[in-house]
C-alpha cells in the first residue's frame, strides 16, 4: 500500500497576539491517510470553528502543524527536497470556497490556467497549452470560446468555480482538496460541480477530500466521512453507516438539524430548545460534553478515544466504550485491506 498524503497526529494551535494569552486549538491530534492506489472520496464535515479549513491548509502545505506531521509519500512536508516539493504541488491540488477571490482582478481568467502550465512545464508549445486548456474546460462543461479572454467579474459564480475545477484538472493531480466548493454557488449549478468532482474521482482516479458544512452533499459524494467538532474527530467511517445510523450524539444532533425538502419529515419542535452556552472552555474531557444530552461524569474527566463500533466506523464517545479502541497511526476504518 502506498500512502500518498497523510496527516499523522496533526495538531495546530493558533496563538493570540503579544498581549493575548489565549490560544486556539484549531485541530487536535488529527490523523488521516489518503491511499495512492485506491482513489476515494473522503468528506470532512464540520461547522464553523471545527478546524476543517485549518485541515485543508495543513494538507496543502500552506501552514505547518504545531505538533505531529503531514506526510507526502512518507516524507514530511517541512523537510522535503525541492524536487519532491514540486511533485507534491502537482499531486495535491485545491478548489477553494470563494470562486471570486481566487481570481486576480488584474488578469483575464486565462491567467489561472496558463500559470500552472508555464510553471510546471506542462506543454511544449503554445498550441499544446491551448489544446490542454480547451480539453479541461470542456471536461467541466464550459465552452472555451465563451470563457477564455474574459475577466472573472464577467462570469457567473458557477462558471468561475468550474474554471477552478478545470485548473486543478490541468495539473493531473492525484488528490484534490475541495474546501466548500459549492457553498457560494447557486443551487441549480451546485449539482454540476459535484458531478464533475465525482467524474474526476471515477474516471481519472483522483482522490478527493471534500470539506464541507453540508452533510447532504457530503453524503451524496463521498465514500468515507469524518465528522469534526471543535478540532476533534467525533465520528469517522463509511458514509452510509454514519448518515443512516449516526452514533455520536453530535452527529445525531447535526443530522436532526438539517431541514430536508421532504414534507414527511418534521423538523421543528414546539418546545423551546435549551440555550447554548456561548463560550465554554473545557481543558480536558469531551469537547461536546457541555451540549451533550447523554453526558456522564466520565465525559468531563478525560476525552474519549475512538472506539471501533463497526468494522467500518469509529466513534469518539464513551457511550461505546465497550467496543475496542482504534489503535495505530492509520485511524481509517472502512478501507479494510
Amino acid at each position: 500500500m502506498t500512502t500518498l498524503l497523510e496527516a499523522r497526529h496533526a495538531t495546530r494551535i493558533f496563538d493570540g497576539g503579544y498581549f493575548d494569552r489565549t490560544s486556539t486549538l484549531a485541530l487536535d491530534d488529527f490523523s488521516l491517510a489518503i491511499d495512492g492506489d485506491r482513489p476515494s472520496i473522503i468528506a470532512v464535515v464540520g461547522e464553523s470553528g471545527s478546524g476543517k479549513t485549518t485541515l485543508a491548509r495543513l494538507l496543502l502545505g500552506l501552514t505547518s502543524p504545531t505538533q505531529g506531521q503531514i506526510l507526502y509519500k512518507g516524507q514530511e512536508l517541512q523537510t522535503m527536497s525541492r524536487a519532491v516539493w514540486r511533485a507534491f504541488r502537482r499531486d495535491v491540488q485545491v478548489i477553494f470556497q470563494d470562486p471570486y477571490g481566487v481570481y486576480n482582478p488584474f488578469y483575464r481568467i486565462d491567467h489561472v490556467l496558463t500559470t500552472p502550465i508555464a510553471k510546471f512545464g506542462l506543454a511544449a508549445s503554445r498550441a499544446e497549452a491551448r489544446a490542454s486548456i480547451d480539453g479541461v474546460l470542456r471536461a467541466v462543461g464550459l465552452r472555451p470560446e465563451e470563457t477564455l479572454g474574459r475577466f472573472a467579474h464577467q462570469l457567473s459564480g458557477g462558471q468561475r468555480q468550474r474554471i477552478m475545477v478545470a485548473r486543478a484538472l490541468l495539473l493531473r493531480p492525484r488528490v484534490i482538496l475541495a474546501d466548500e466548493p459549492v457553498s457560494m454557488v447557486d443551487a441549480s449549478l451546485r449539482a454540476t460541480i459535484l458531478a464533475s468532482l465525482r467524474t474526476m474521482n471515477r474516471d481519472l482516479g483522483i482522490s478527493i477530500v471534500y470539506i464541507t458544512h453540508d452533510l447532504a452533499t457530503a453524503y451524496q459524494i463521498s465514500d468515507t466521512i469524518v465528522v469534526l467538532y471543535r478540532g476533534s474527530v467525533v465520528e469517522i467511517g463509511d458514509v452510509e453507516l454514519v448518515v443512516k445510523r449516526p452514533q455520536h450524539p453530535y452527529t445525531q444532533l447535526l443530522l436532526s438539524s438539517i431541514p430536508l425538502a421532504s414534507p414527511e419529515r418534521t423538523w421543528m419542535t414546539e418546545k423551546p430548545s435549551t440555550p447554548v452556552a456561548a463560550t465554554e472552555t473545557i481543558d480536558h474531557g469531551c469537547k461536546f460534553a457541555g451540549r451533550c444530552p447523554s453526558v456522564a461524569a466520565s465525559c468531563r474527566e478525560s476525552a474519549p478515544s475512538l472506539f471501533q463500533t463497526d468494522r467500518d466506523r469509529a466513534v469518539a464517545c464513551y457511550l461505546y466504550r465497550d467496543a475496542p479502541t482504534v489503535t495505530g497511526d492509520h485511524r481509517q476504518p472502512g478501507r479494510s485491506r
Binding site: L60, V102, T115, K119, M164
Partner: protein, 278 residues
C-alpha cells in the same frame, strides 16, 4: 475621456505640471541659460523687456535662472522620489510578503526612522559632507530618508493583499515568492504606487528646498531653493527687491499645487471608494 471629466483633480494636476513643462521648454528656446550665471547682466534690475523677471544682485537674469533652475529642482525631486519609492517598495513588499525576521527589522527601522525629524538628519548629513555638492549628490542625500514612508504604507497595503485567494492559488500553481510579488501583487498596487511616487517627489522637493534655503545645497547651481537662499542672503525682502522672490515662489507654488492635485487624482483611481457617485 469620460473618466477624466469626472476626475477633475487629475486634470488640474496634469494641466499645472504641463504648463510648467511648457514654460521650461519655451524658455530654453528664447533665452540663453548661461545668463543664469553671476555677472551676466546688470545687477538688481526690476522686470523689463530685456529682463522679464528682473535680475538679482549678483547679476543673474532671473528669467534664465528660472528656466535653468526649475528642471534642476524637479530632477532632485524625481531622483530622490524614485529612489525612495523604489527602496521603499522593495522593502515593503518583501517584509510584508515574507514576514518573519526581515519584517521585524524593517518595521523597527521604519518606526524609529519616522519619529526622528527628517530635516535635522538631512542637515547633519549635508553638513558632514564636504562643500560643493552636485545636484545628483543632493538628490541622494534627500533619498536617504525618503524611503521610510513608502516602505511603511506599501507594507500595509501588501499585508491586506497577501491574504487574497489568488495569492494562494498562485502559490499552488508553483509560483515563487518573488514572482507572486511581481506578477500578482504589484499590478494591483500600480495606481497606489503611482500615487505614492508623486507624493514622495513632492516631499523630496520640499526637503531639498529646505536644505538649500539653509545654504546646504549645490552652491553653484541655480536651483529654486538656492535662488531663495540668495534672496535671503541679500535681504531682498527688506530691500524691496520684490521680483527676486516672486518668480521662484510662484514656480514652487505651481509645482506643489500640480503634484498635490495629481496625488488626489491618482488616489481616486487607487481607492475607488473615494470615487464620487454620479
Amino acid at each position: 475621456m469620460g473618466y477624466l471629466r469626472r476626475n477633475l483633480s487629475l486634470v488640474v494636476g496634469i494641466a499645472l505640471l504641463s504648463a510648467l513643462g511648457l514654460f521650461v521648454i519655451i524658455g530654453h528656446l528664447v533665452v540663453d541659460t548661461s545668463k543664469s550665471r553671476p555677472l551676466s547682466a546688470p545687477a538688481v534690475q526690476a522686470p523689463s523687456l530685456a529682463h522679464p523677471f528682473g535680475t538679482d544682485r549678483q547679476g543673474r537674469d532671473l528669467f534664465a535662472t528660472m528656466v535653468a533652475g526649475t528642471p534642476l529642482t524637479l530632477r532632485i525631486g524625481f531622483i530622490a522620489g524614485m529612489l525612495g519609492v523604489g527602496i521603499g517598495a522593495i522593502l515593503g513588499f518583501a517584509s510584508a510578503y515574507y514576514r518573519g525576521r526581515l519584517d521585524a527589522v524593517v518595521r523597527g527601522v521604519v518606526d524609529i526612522g519616522l519619529t526622528v525629524p527628517g530635516l535635522l538628519v538631512l542637515i547633519l548629513i549635508a553638513v558632514s559632507l564636504r562643500r560643493g555638492l552636485t545636484v545628483n549628490q543632493m538628490a541622494i542625500i534627500v533619498a536617504s530618508l525618503a524611503w521610510l514612508n513608502p516602505a511603511r504604507t506599501i507594507r500595509a497595503q501588501v499585508l491586506s493583499l497577501r491574504e487574497r485567494g489568488y495569492v494562494e492559488v498562485a502559490r499552488l500553481s508553483g509560483m515563487s515568492g518573488s514572482e507572486i510579488i511581481v506578477k500578482e501583487l504589484m499590478p494591483n498596487l500600480l495606481p497606489y504606487l503611482a500615487a505614492t511616487l508623486v507624493n514622495s517627489v513632492s516631499s523630496a522637493i520640499l526637503a531639498s528646498i529646505g536644505l538649500e534655503v539653509l545654504g546646504l545645497g549645490p552652491i553653484d547651481s541655480p536651483t529654486l531653493g538656492m535662488t531663495l537662499y540668495w534672496v535671503n542672503f541679500n535681504a531682498a525682502l527688506i530691500n524691496g527687491w520684490w521680483w527676486w522672490w516672486t518668480a521662484p515662489i510662484t514656480i514652487i507654488l505651481v509645482v506643489f499645487l500640480g503634484l498635490f492635485f495629481l496625488t488626489v487624482g491618482l488616489d481616486e483611481i487607487a481607492n475607488p471608494r473615494l470615487r464620487r457617485v454620479i
